[in-house]
Amino acid sequence: MIHLDNISRLFRSDEVETTALTDIDLTVEAGEFVAVMGPSGCGKSTLLNILGTIDRPSAGRYLFESEDIAKAPEAELAKLRRDRLGFVFQSFNLIDELTIGENVALGLAYRSLGGAEKRERVAAAMDRVGIAHRKNHHPHQLSGGQQQRAAIARAIVGDPKLILADEPTGNLDTENGTQVMNILTELNTEGATIVMVTHSPAHADIAKRTVHMLDGRILTSARRAA
């Protein structure tokens, strides 16, 4: 599904040049659940951003379903994100001014679907993660766990092929973290491909494969024994 070939990412400011990723080669097959681990600043989130096309590599090739999208135009990447990707962030990234229902609907806002279908899919996604009763609340009125479940509902409402989760349990307590991981596992079981950045070995163990990173490079990539 995904193939990264010699991907690098440099950040340049006026005085400093920082290498976030160096010569990354990574393949993710459809249906995989990959955990990415490593210390802070090792490039995990940058890798996830590039996978999600919300950041561009400085060099290398990025094949998404065999199509090189490393240098694709912005409009094409927007379409890819809209139709095939779902995102879950550590800090939820819900929009404060919108209700939970509206936040979830944002996942379909840029698709040409009818109003009834949109409402149906939003209701199903919220039901799926157990927050349907919070539809009319604003994010600040919900607990962290509920907010993250709303963020997952937003990520899955468009039925994406690939879900990218950046430390989805990082801001949650154990119980809420477990709930979120259960949802992700279910989604993977149902066929979604998931790439998740995490600091938690316990949550990484739930994934089918763990990629370890250090200083912008992939050190190891190990599959969990069946």
């Binding site: 950041d55 990234n93 806002a109």
Partner: protein, 806 residues
């Protein structure tokens, strides 16, 4: 920073967010500059005839005529001797007369056309212009005494003393030698009744056959009263006075004629149109300042969040709400003070240009009587407190724990957002209303300049010196022959009126025989041959007047008042008489002071103010010498300057001692009627453009603030698949919403204001929806242009970078 001086804190806050500081202070400074300039202009317009001591004791006697064809505006002239009759009935009444006329000043071989004021001997006691030499009141005791202004003294005598020197004045064709007995200071610009030469009224020189004729309009009669109540008591007695003196003569009729008095200081803005324009400009100044204040509040509340941590820490260290409010109110006052200084600088820089453009002498006086220093300080305090109150209330309300724990800076919440939206709506409503009004005013001014006045304006020169009393009939005929023979001249005529000059005509009450119930008052104009041809009038029916038809010539028919005089009338005359069509009018008899018969009908010719309706006009051919007439020349093939030079050469060959005075019709109309509206429109346009600019500064500031606050949201939306175009549509759409909403307020406001303003014009444009749509579309385009840069910047940002923003 927390413990530092409040001013240092303010300075750091401003310099840290330079864009906001520039927008905030710059917008306010611009608003203050516009307010100041319009305030000065309104003060200037309202300041006429208020310079001399005792100005508020002077009143003007005015006449009102009631009936069809009569102007709704009162007449400002009275019969020549009315003051004497009044004083005979009311011996305590103080008054004076001012009779203005054109004369020729002869000084050796030189001659000059000058306006002259013949006044009563007590004139300078009521109008105490400072005397620079001699005693003006004593000078007027002498029949040949002459009072001149400093300007005239310099013109005629240079550096030499003027006292005791003589000037010859040619008055109504007779030469009189006058001796300068006093030199007075030049009257201020804001003086309505002013002249450079003053002589005493000597009836033998100035009185004509109308001097004692009720209903004639010869001169200005001024009255002095100690206070308003005395003036009104006198006004209440006027009907009785007219009953005793005017109505018994039969020249004016009770119920169709009355008199009133008005303060002299009200004379400059006597017409409703003038008053409405000045009120509109005053309103514009206030509203522009209001827009600028709204801007300040908007940007200050938007920025309030940036100061939240500081407020929280001040509270943590013991700051109470009142102290924090005081701090931010103080900051607002200081900011307004700085903006006022900059606004004053803008105004000082703009005033010389503006004075040149609109012909005023506006200046800012800081100290002394009418000085602006104290009002400005008061304005700084009031505007500072108004502008600072809401932001101070918002800032001082923040709760320290919540602010310090929050990941994001507070933004005032939904109420803050709503307030900002409401203020944007209000700002743009005012700006769009200004835009609509400006476009209507510009279109109306252009219309009166370009619309068909019923005659061909191009290629016409008026020779005004033709009415000089020293030109006898033979000289006038010689001049007309010389004009007609001048190369380039295609036609020439003489008449009592010309475009822009129509003050020497008379009126007549006329009716159709057998229909005495309809008796409109109409203007009668004595015209020479080729009148209609020269002006290019539209002939609607019948023929023109010429000497080949018996009964056409007033000079021939005047001896026999029983025979009908052939006349030409205009279209309005038909309407007023109730005649169905121009064709139906031909051959129609009319009764008035003499029997008349209509032989021709022409379209209305607008020779006067576009605000005034064109009344019914009766044209009578007169081949004898027409008193107070002007010559009008139609020419072709050369420019106006060349033709004027040729006409002057012809003039000097026949009347070398009479100064030649000629103007093109365009110049004459422009100076008399169009210039003032054009100047006010220019001022309105400048004000409207600046008001829109200030609104846009506010919108830009808000867009900058709001888009920077929403960078993370934009990142989320882009992560979820929004394209750059989606984001642009979202941001621009959201900012345009209040602008669109503003139309709902602006359109009715502008509609009612402009309907009222246009009602002041007889010849006016239709209040088309195009003005409203155009102003709204332009406002929307300007708003889009203002926010596009900001929206484009954030819409193009990489989502990953946007998500890292906070």
């Amino acid at each position: 920073m927390i413990g530092g001086s409040p001013f240092l804190t303010l300075y750091r806050s401003l310099t840290r967010h330079r864009l906001f500081a520039v927008l905030n202070i710059g917008g306010l400074a611009l608003g203050i500059a516009v307010f100041l300039i319009l305030f000065l202009f309104v003060q200037f317009e309202r300041g006429y005839d208020r310079q001399l001591p005792g100005w508020n004791t002077l009143w003007l006697l005015q006449e009102h005529r009631v009936g069809p064809g009569e102007s709704a505006q009162p007449g400002l002239f009275t019969m020549g001797n009315e003051l004497l009759q009044l004083q005979a009935d009311y011996p305590q009444l103080t008054g004076t007369r001012y009779d203005s006329m054109g004369v020729t000043v002869l000084q050796g071989p030189r001659s000059f056309a000058e306006p002259l004021a013949a006044v009563d001997t007590n004139y300078f006691r009521l109008f105490p212009f400072p005397a620079l030499a001699g005693n003006p009141s004593q000078t007027l005791q002498e029949p040949n005494g002459l009072v001149i202004t400093q300007r005239a003294a310099t013109k005629y005598f240079g550096d030499q003393p003027a006292l005791g020197r003589e000037l010859t004045l040619r008055i109504n064709g007779e030469d009189y030698s006058y001796r300068v007995g006093s030199v007075i200071a030049d009257p201020p610009m804001q003086t309505t009744l002013k002249s450079d030469l003053y002589v005493p009224i000597v009836p033998a020189r100035f009185a004509n056959e109308w001097w004692d004729h009720w209903g004639s309009a010869s001169l200005t009669t001024l009255l002095q009263f100690p206070d308003k109540s005395a003036a009104h008591r006198f006004e209440a007695a006027l009907p009785g006075f007219l009953d005793r003196h005017a109505f018994p003569t039969g020249n004016v009729k009770k119920g169709k004629y009355y008199q009133s008095i008005t303060p002299l200081s009200a004379l400059h803005l006597a017409t409703p149109g003038d008053r409405a324009t000045v009120v509109t400009l005053a309103l514009m100044g206030i509203l522009t300042l209001l827009i600028a204040i709204m801007n300040y509040i908007n940007l200050a509340t938007a920025r309030a969040g940036l100061r939240a941590p500081e407020v929280a820490l001040r509270k943590v260290f013991g700051g109470v709400r009142s102290a924090i409010m005081a701090q931010f109110l103080g900051e607002a006052v200081v900011t307004v003070f700085v903006a006022t200084l900059i606004g004053l600088a803008f105004a000082e820089l703009a005033l010389p240009l503006l004075n040149t453009a609109i012909g005023t002498s506006l200046s800012i006086r800081y100290i002394g009587a009418g000085g602006l220093a104290l009002p400005l300080i008061a304005m700084v305090l009031v505007v500072g407190l108004i502008a600072g109150l809401y932001p101070a209330a918002i800032l001082s309300r923040y709760r320290p724990a919540r602010v310090l724990a929050a990941a994001r800076t507070p933004d005032g919440g939904r109420n803050g957002t709503r307030l900002r939206q409401a203020l944007i709506v209000a700002q743009f409503a005012i700006a769009i209303a200004f835009g609509i009004s400006t476009s209507v005013m510009i279109a109306q001014v252009a219309h009166v300049r370009m619309a068909d006045p019923g005659f061909q304006r191009q290629g016409l020169i008026i020779v005004r010196s033709f009415f000089d009393g020293s030109l006898d009939h033979a000289a006038q005929n010689d001049l007309m022959r010389a004009f007609r023979a001048t190369p380039g001249v295609t036609s020439a005529t003489v008449a009592q009126n010309a475009p822009g000059d129509q003050f020497t005509t008379n009126g007549d009450t006329v009716w159709l025989p057998g229909k005495p119930t309809v008796k409109p008052s109409m203007m009668t104009v004595q015209i020479g041959p080729d009148y209609f041809k020269t002006f290019g009038a539209h002939r609607l029916a019948g023929r023109s007047l010429d000497t080949s038809h018996g009964g056409d010539d007033l000079s021939v028919a005047s001896g026999d008042r029983t025979g009908a005089l052939n006349i030409v009338v205009n279209r309005t005359a038909l309407k007023e008489l109730g005649i169905a069509s121009p064709q139906a009018a031909i051959g129609q008899a009319i009764d008035g002071t003499r029997p008349m018969r209509i032989v021709g009908v022409v379209g209305d010719m607008r020779f006067r103010d576009p605000r005034e309706p064109v009344g019914g006009v009766i044209y009578m051919l007169d081949t004898a010498r027409i008193s107070s007439s002007m010559a009008t020349i139609r020419y072709t093939g050369v420019d106006a300057a060349t033709m004027t030079a040729r006409l002057e050469k012809a003039w000097k060959s026949i009347a070398p001692t009479v100064p030649f005075d000629a103007k093109t019709v365009r110049q004459n109309l422009w100076q008399k009627y169009y210039q003032q509206d054009a100047r006010r429109s220019l001022l309105f346009t400048i004000g409207a453009v600046l008001a829109v600019a200030i609104g846009c500064i506010g919108l830009y500031g808000l867009a900058a603030f709001d888009t920077s606050r929403r960078i993370r949201e934009i990142g989320i939306r882009k992560t979820l698949g929004a394209s750059t175009r989606d984001i642009l549509r979202l941001l621009i759409g959201q900012f345009l919403r209040p602008v669109v909403l503003a139309n709902l307020i602006a359109w009715p406001l502008a509609y009612f204001a402009m309907r009222k303003w246009l009602a002041g014009f007889d010849d006016r444009i239709a209040l088309s929806p195009a003005y409203f749509l155009a102003a709204s579309v332009i406002a929307a385009l300007i708003a889009i242009a203002t926010i596009f840069g900001q929206a484009w910047r954030v819409a193009r940002a990489e989502p990953a970078k946007a998500l890292r923003y906070e």
